[in-house]
């Protein structure tokens, strides 16, 4: 049999690689998304002092360091069985909301929207941020850059640095704010709300008014009936920072709702010899392969999944947008993968509104920032909703707080099985009788870009921009086509 040769580019980058095998009729037989890198944080964190973890684990990903920082800090609260002070808790959520808005904005404008705003059929060369700016105007481009910069300045203020913040400690945060800074953040929050509303309008005007795009979004190529997972508050509204993990079935009925400390009863991870990524699934249903439906344990996470798994948004405008979105999509839950983009904008509005709620509360300037741990450490589990899905840090230590067990369920893994399925489905629909057009790369890419798969969490590349290689083999396993970008 012909040996499969791998493009040196892929191997060099440690980025994503898709292998597609055709049957003797030239139709897709198997497709595999391979993630070829592993850095081993769970291993080299062993023996470390637990309190250093909020400074170590952000290095998993320079795009979403704040998510790891927060999940780790919350795992430390639990490790020492200590609650953060009220002020500290609010400050953490302020940091987190600022992060969610800027990160969602990064994805929507820089990485995701080129597909829609510039158009799925446009040449690859113009499907980038410059193409977007051309379409929406330079002023908007500047507005995006400026907005992200101001939101990121909030994280820098508290965290010292926006790439890898350092302020989280068990029982609190290391830095508070005064009235001036509070007012500053309040101002940023107001502008962020306008910005999110503006982004939703742009999506409506450019995408939803275009019949072709709507057809693509609601078409079958990008549809999967799966379970959905997300954090919810006590009213089952979406929450990024805290709450219970809720899972709904493909019909939208609650399947499970649990405290993160019980995650081991609900989530297990399947592995394949051909990828370093693990594929989590619902333990109570079991792994039935890369397949969707009620009988398969595959679930999805991140924006659309969170909205599906909730009863709506906790803030006024975002909740209206939530309702409007599901109405257009034909009901809840929605299984349309491309609707992740839309849900991302609804979440952006929620995070901005929540940022305003938190920052208009004058009591947050209190100096009561920390509760000191007193209990002996043993085990701690922390969860947040990262932009790319439910993120869990699980630590165990000896009585000095030295780590002897670390398990990290990173957000991108949550969608790993679904991403594989979406790619396979797109390939099946687009490759017929051995006919492979160059456009397929585009369309297949759209399938996974909707998830905003931050491969930095799995490997180390920026979401959506990973130089991707797609190899297609005929039924005798000869390489017949190689597409890469």
């Amino acid at each position: 049999m012909k040996k499969i040769t791998i493009d040196p580019i892929t191997r060099l980058e440690g980025h994503g690689k898709i292998e597609i095998f055709l049957d003797d009729k030239g139709n897709v037989k198997n497709a595999y998304l391979q993630i070829p890198e592993l850095r081993g944080f769970e291993v080299f964190s062993l023996g470390r002092a637990a309190e250093e973890m909020p400074r170590i684990t952000p290095k998993i990903c320079g795009v979403c360091p704040t998510a790891h920082h927060m999940a780790s800090t919350k795992a430390l609260d639990d490790l020492y069985k200590i609650e953060p002070t009220e002020t500290a808790r609010k400050i953490r959520e302020i940091i987190y909301c600022a992060f969610m808005v800027e990160d969602h904005a990064l994805h929507f404008y820089f990485l995701g929207s080129p597909d829609f705003i510039v158009g799925p059929g446009a040449p690859a060369g113009s499907r980038n941020i410059l193409g977007v700016i051309e379409k929406v105007g330079l002023e908007t481009g500047k507005r995006v850059i400026e907005m992200r910069k101001r939101l990121r300045s909030i994280i820098t203020f508290f965290g010292g640095r926006v790439i890898h913040p350092v302020c989280g400690l068990p029982g609190g945060v290391s830095k508070g704010l005064d009235e001036n800074e509070r007012k500053n953040i309040e101002g940023i929050a107001r502008d962020a709300i306008d910005f999110a509303k503006f982004s939703l309008d742009a999506f409506r005007n450019i995408v939803l008014k275009n019949e072709e795009y709507v057809k693509l979004i609601t078409g079958d190529i990008y549809r999967h009936r799966t379970y959905y997972m997300g954090l919810v508050d006590k009213n089952n509204k979406v929450n990024f920072y805290d709450g219970k993990i809720r899972v709904v079935n493909p019909d939208g009925r609650e399947f499970a709702k649990f405290d993160v400390k019980d995650f081991g009863d609900h989530i297990a991870e399947h592995k394949e010899e051909w990828s370093y990524v693990k594929f989590p699934y619902l333990k109570k249903i079991g792994w039935k392969g890369f397949t969707d439906g009620e009988k398969s344990g595959v679930y999805r996470v991140a924006p659309l999944a969170r909205l599906n798994a909730s009863d709506g948004m906790a803030t006024e405008y975002a909740d209206k947008e939530h309702d409007a979105m599901f109405k257009t999509l034909g009901g809840k839950p929605s299984h349309h993968t491309l609707a992740f983009h839309w849900a991302r904008l609804v979440e952006m509005l929620y995070a901005a509104e929540r940022l305003l709620e938190l920052s208009s509360d004058k009591s947050i300037t209190s100096k009561d920032l920390r509760n000191l741990p007193e209990r002996k450490p043993e085990e701690g589990i922390g969860v947040v909703e990262a932009p790319r899905g439910t993120l869990i840090h699980h630590y165990r230590t000896d009585e000095r707080g030295v780590l002897n067990y670390v398990n990290l369920l990173v957000a991108t893994y949550g969608n790993a099985a679904a991403i594989s399925m979406s790619i396979t489905k797109a390939a099946e629909n687009l490759i017929k009788k051995g006919q492979v057009s160059d456009e397929i790369l585009n369309k297949v890419e759209m399938a996974f870009r909707a998830y905003d798969p931050c491969m930095a969490c799995a490997t180390h590349s920026l979401p959506g921009q990973m130089p991707l290689t797609l190899n297609i083999y005929d039924h005798e396993r000869h390489l017949i086509k190689k597409l890469s970008r």
Partner: protein
């Protein structure tokens, strides 16, 4: 005159160094006007063959971030070295190994076993393999490498842009030096010539003479933002670390962990902080700490290697030993 060619490349890194470049915002657009970016995998379409076609030393400067973990990364940085007049190590991982360098304390077999067999969420003991078969199809993924190396342990490096991630002013300082052709001596670290303690806002609060009776961990005490961490008994890598970050962690009321690498004229960051702490050990002024005192103190630190070498293990004396072992194994 044609614009100078610039390349950005990444090895084992988190993407934070790329974000740092994006965070230059408007400044990035200005720089982009003045240079011709020939290679930037994260943002631009590229091919390795495009780089191969360039004549030797025709790239004015290559900024390379991330530590070196795989043979492929090694090949790529060798190629860039050949094609570039100058190479700058960008960020802590390329400079001194960075956080992933902590992996040098563990063997590869342990890594795979622990992650794919021991963790409790695993449903079976399947471990990924470089070559495997699924549904009769042969599939390949690269092998995981044993040790993490810094860039200058792999190729000749001209300059260093330190930090995890490097702050905007340091990046701009480096870029400007290249654009203007005003290059400092080879080996220069584009940061300050001082130690972090020298520029720290808490410096004046650091008593000339003080002694530590007991070491405290950051979560155990409430730090007084007016006081030097070390004077409170909280380990801060300020005395052993190069200044230039803008005292970022100190400004967030957290002690330094050394991402800017050893301070000037210091080779081993961990050894330096150890001796700095030993000299502050709780004894009277003229006395010198006994070995016993020092070891009592070290014993009170849960993970001295991880703390003192949080960013610099591969670049340290300890790291060298590991690497030497590997070379021996391979020969």
């Amino acid at each position: 005159m044609s614009k100078p060619k610039v390349a950005f490349y990444w090895c084992a890194s988190c993407g934070g160094c790329e974000e740092a470049v994006v965070d230059l915002n408007e400044d990035l657009l200005q720089v982009a006007e003045k240079v011709d970016i020939v290679f930037w995998p994260v943002a631009l379409d590229f091919k390795r063959s495009d780089v191969e076609k360039l004549s030797d030393r025709s790239i004015a400067v290559s900024f390379i971030n991330g530590a070196i973990r795989t043979r492929e990364q090694e090949e790529m940085v060798r190629l860039l070295r050949k094609k570039s007049a100058y190479v700058a190590a960008f960020g802590s991982c390329a400079h001194i190994g960075g956080i992933p360098g902590l992996g040098n304390q563990f063997a590869k077999e342990k890594l795979l076993k622990l992650i794919y067999e021991d963790l409790e969420t695993n449903d079976d003991r399947t471990v990924p393999k470089p070559l495997s078969k699924a549904d009769g199809n042969e599939l390949e993924i690269p092998e995981i490498c044993e040790y993490v190396r810094t860039l200058d342990q792999t190729i000749d490096v001209d300059y260093y842009i330190p930090g995890c991630a490097p702050p905007a002013d340091i990046i701009l300082k480096g870029l400007t030096a290249f654009l203007k052709g005003e290059l400092p001596p080879k080996g220069t670290v584009f940061a300050s010539d001082k130690s972090l303690c020298d520029t720290c806002p808490l410096r004046d609060k650091k008593p000339d003479k003080f002694s530590i009776k007991e070491l405290k961990r950051p979560h155990e005490v409430i730090h007084d933002p007016e006081k030097c961490f070390l004077s409170e008994g909280i380990i801060c890598l300020g005395p052993a670390t190069r200044s230039g970050c803008g005292e970022r962690c100190i400004n967030a009321n957290m002690p330094c962990r050394g991402c800017f690498g050893p301070s000037p004229r210091v080779y081993d960051q961990g050894a330096k902080i150890l001796s700095a702490i030993a000299s502050l050990l709780g004894i009277d002024e003229e006395e010198i700490a006994s070995e016993e005192d020092v070891s009592r103190l070290i014993d009170s630190i849960p993970d001295p290697v991880g703390l003192f070498y949080m960013y610099s293990l591969p670049a340290s004396n300890l790291g060298d030993k590991r690497r030497n072992d590997e070379q021996k194994d391979n020969s």
